[in-house]
Amino acid sequence: MAEHLVFNGDQAIAYSWKQVNPDVVASYPITPQTIIVENFAEYAANGEVETEYVCAESEHSAMSLCIGAAAAGGRVATATASAGLAFMWEVLWIASSMRLPIVMSVANRALSGPINIHCDHSDAMGARDTGWVQIYGENVQEAYDDSLMSFRIAENMKVRLPVMNCIDGFIVTHALEKFIPIDDAVVKRYIGEFKPIRPLLDIKNATTYGPFTGNDYYFEHKFQISEAMKSAMGVVKDTFKEFEDLTGRKYDVVEGYMLDDADYVIMAIGSTAGTLRYVVDQLRAQGKKVGSLKLRLFRPFPFADIAKALEGKKAVAVMDRAMSTGSSGPLYPEVCAALYNSKDRPRICNYIYGLGGRDVKPDELAEVFDHLAKGTCKDINFMGVRQ
């Protein structure tokens, strides 16, 4: 087993790319992702990778370069955040529609305006319908592991969709933590040779990519993407299992903590899940039957796994670090849908929290548990905002 390293989340992702040695990395710097591309630029400058590293003049062009490179037959990675992901939004759909296995790390950051560089999930949640698999990591170890696994998931023949691996801006991207990398040779074997499908660079078998498609075929194309995304659920689970066999690190699409006998559960995505486990421990010490549920995979959405984890509980709070203005947080209605047909469904309420990097304090989460137990939470609540 390799020695541990002390890296921040961005550095860990760049390190994973160094080990993967993609054919093309095309990117544009944006806080809090920038360290990824800076570190990778150093690897390229020092000849530690064979990658063609391209500094695009915008995120839209960065993703367009990735699309061209992946369609050409290359293994491709990029990274972005916030406004950068929003700027890519148009072409994200094209990447998935062409079934290009691009891997993109997203350092989750609030969207303007007002301009803010800190963590929330508005950026990636805004891209939830684009046909990209979305995995969320909690810490530096998961940032590294998810980045590696994303290549396997994206390139799986049952999937062949682009994958977004997300980490919380600053909280994970800039926090130094111990993590255990995998040996270079093991990564090389694990990732394997890239197998392009009908690449543009195969000049003897000319392929047309991105034709105009009218009402006679468009729907069928979209259905095929939906089927591929459905297959991704099994592929992600298999990938997690294989990764456990390789490293001993166990992952699942949803990960419960002290759930078995819990009456009250808080569900969250990303770094907040770590804070939640601390709060659960504190309250358990007081004899309170509480637990937490971390969501690792948002697309495809693990309806069945969530239903299994939460049915029979008395009350659940779904934490959303994003807001669909005029509705609720984006995670909440999907969790409700997952449980609607359960025989014994809990009361479910929504907490919008942490927007623009607002700190998430253990006391506040303990208070949410208190509201769940007392039945005093509304359907949609705001945690930690001055009203």
Binding site: D23, V24, A26, E50, T51, E52, V54, C55, A56, E57, S58, H60, S61, A62, S64, L65, C66, I67, G68, A69, A70, A71, A72, G73, G74, V76, E90, V91, I94, L200, L201, D202, I203, A206, T207, T208, Y209, G210, P211, F212, T213, G214, Y217
Partner: protein, 314 residues
């Protein structure tokens, strides 16, 4: 390579029959000329527009070479991505062929929405030839103004009204802006002079870095001329100096074709009024009310032509 019609007719077409462009459209004529200008394998990216939607209506395609369309504004970075993968795979020994990279975009995709992306790709030095099929408006969506639309032209977003004749502004001189990137090769061409166009395309394909070719592409629908007059119209654009044929080859400016002969005094420079009269989009300028606009267009054409003459003499 030989540019005799006999020899050219033997070349296997890379852009074939079955496309759905309008009768009289200049774009397929230009595309075939460009694609015949190299005997190397070519991979094409295409911006959204007339040329794209008409050539690949799923499940059909008019392309016998690898081709990719992504979006409206990103033909340049898309082909740059293909070229980047090519460099990487060549470095790894996975590709041995010597391939050329080509982008097509209309003037909307090139002058307007994709301008930044094109500028970035040129600045980064990707090896590709970008061909602007310049029909001077957004024709695919029904004749809306672009940065390439000439002053006074009637389009659906700068319509002829009682207060204004049409577009208020002169066209953007994009070729000049592209040349400001100091790229290896840039030129203006016209499909009526296919030898000149193909020679420029060949230079663009073989340039040691990015190359840009701006080609005037008469549009019978948008320009309001008979579909049999496309080539005549392209020729008239050159003969009136509305569209000078010239090139910028590794820092050296030269007039070519008819423009060279006009510059040398061996060919008449025809008045812009002939160009305006030939097209319905300028018909309002023939009224006394807007006569001054026609005069301003002539003055602007003269200003740009004289500036270009100086550059070509240096």
């Amino acid at each position: 390579m030989s540019l005799s019609l006999k020899e050219l007719s033997k070349i296997e077409p890379r852009y074939t029959e079955g496309h759905r462009l309008c009768a009289g459209c200049a774009e397929p004529i230009i595309a075939r000329q460009v694609l015949m200008a190299t005997d190397k394998p070519v991979i094409v990216s295409n911006a959204t527009g007339c040329f794209e939607v008409s050539s690949t209506i799923y499940p059909f395609t008019s392309w016998t070479v690898p081709w990719i369309h992504s979006a409206f504004e990103n033909a340049a970075p898309t082909i740059a991505g293909v070229e980047s993968a090519y460099i990487a795979l060549k470095r790894k020994g996975k590709i041995t062929e010597d391939i050329r990279f080509l982008s097509f975009g209309g003037d909307g995709a090139t002058y307007d929405i994709g301008f930044q992306a094109l500028s970035g790709a040129i600045e980064r030095g990707h090896h590709f030839l970008y061909v602007c099929l310049n029909n001077e408006a957004y024709m695919n969506t029904g004749i809306q103004r672009s940065g390439a639309t000439e002053r006074g032209a009637n389009t659906t977003t700068c319509p002829t009204g009682t207060c204004t004749p049409g577009k208020k502004e002169f066209s953007k001189d994009l070729t000049k802006i592209i040349i400001a990137h100091d790229l290896p090769y840039a030129a203006q061409a016209s499909p009526h002079n296919y030898r000149d166009l193909m020679e420029k395309a060949r230079k663009g394909f073989d340039a040691n870095g990015p190359a840009f070719l701006n080609v005037i592409a008469p549009c019978p629908r948008g320009w309001r001329h008979d579909s049999s007059k496309t080539i005549d119209m392209a020729k008239l654009a050159v003969e009136t100096c509305v569209w000078p044929l010239y090139e910028f080859d590794n820092g050296v400016y030269s007039m070519t074709g008819e423009s060279k002969r006009i510059a040398e005094g061996s060919k008449e420079k025809r008045p812009v009024s002939e160009w305006l009269k030939a097209q319905g989009r300028f018909s309002q300028l023939m009224k006394p009310q807007w006569a001054s606009v026609a005069e301003e267009i002539q003055q602007n054409v003269d200003k740009r032509w004289n500036a270009l003459l100086k550059l070509c003499k240096n």
